[in-house]
């Protein structure tokens, strides 16, 4: 699916975020030469198409005291990953959960689940809960803690034309 030039302009105008003013869409509209009404209509369309997932705050886990952030990775039986993945993804402390390809021989893991907690002990306890759910369908697992944010930006579109 491609996006129109107007949509591209709208996305570019909102990349840095939505202004914290009483009429934020009117502010974006004036930058893009659209009326507020037209802009709202186009944003609704972008949401319907899934281009915009939601308009929301991205919290800083570290500042919220969730300093332990573990990417748990699991080698799960391919035949059972659909059902088990859904179960793990539904856990309240798992923020992202994906099936990804293995990179053999060094990387046998095909299920990735991000677990957040205040301490590593807390994250380890949650990892234990996940291991119990996966049971014999899991042949091995590991956890990777993030020690530093090296870059964090929103999606940047290349400017065209």
């Amino acid at each position: 699916m491609s996006i129109s030039d107007t949509d591209r302009q709208i996305i570019a105008a909102m990349q840095e975020g939505l202004p914290l003013v009483p009429r934020p869409f009117a502010a974006i509209a004036s930058q893009t030469g659209l009326t507020e009404e037209t802009l709202l209509h186009r944003i609704a369309e972008l949401k319907a198409r899934g281009v915009i997932r939601r308009i929301a705050a991205a919290p800083n886990h570290y500042k919220l005291g969730m300093t332990a952030n573990g990417m748990t990775v699991w080698d799960v039986d391919d035949a059972r990953i659909a059902g088990l993945g859904a179960q793990i993804g539904a856990l309240p402390y798992v923020t992202h959960c994906y099936e990804r390809p293995r990179a053999l021989p060094g990387w046998p893991y095909n299920l990735f689940a991000m677990v957040h907690g205040a301490t590593r002990d807390e994250v380890e306890a949650k990892r234990g809960e996940i291991a119990a759910i996966l049971g014999a369908a899991c042949r091995g697992h590991d956890i990777l803690y993030s020690t530093r944010i090296l870059k964090k930006t929103g999606l940047r579109l290349k400017q065209k034309g």
Binding site: I43, I81, Y98, E99, R100
Partner: protein, 149 residues
Amino acid sequence: MTLDDTDRRILNRMQDDLPLCPDPYAAVAAELGLAETDLLTRLARMKESRVITRFGPFFDAAAMGGAFCLCAMEVPEAVFETVLTKVNAHPEVAHNYERTHRLNMWFVLATETPEGIQVTADAIERETGIAVLRFPKLQEFFIGFRVAA
């Protein structure tokens, strides 16, 4: 900054979608029983102190015809900063984390076309001489980004 209960309620609410109407903050403020100016002031303060890293639309590159891909590299400590500079120089690198593993650099590529992933990952390999392992998502199991503040 320290967050009070009102800040926490705001942060929890604002991780969900903002209503799409001319005065969305007034609508959320009414939901929370706050004045709009109070909501905006607190949001601005949380953004300024980086409790909120960003407030705005979350885009899905895949829905625009583009792609995301999680990538990992095994970067020797001695050249870590040099490699980091080269990797981060690519605008397609959306986030990048240092992690405790032999594979110690993990980043997400977001590109406007599916081919862009390979082009960028190959370019990084060329520039750094280090393999870029690619872990595109095969299946997504619910995304509940929200954290309880």
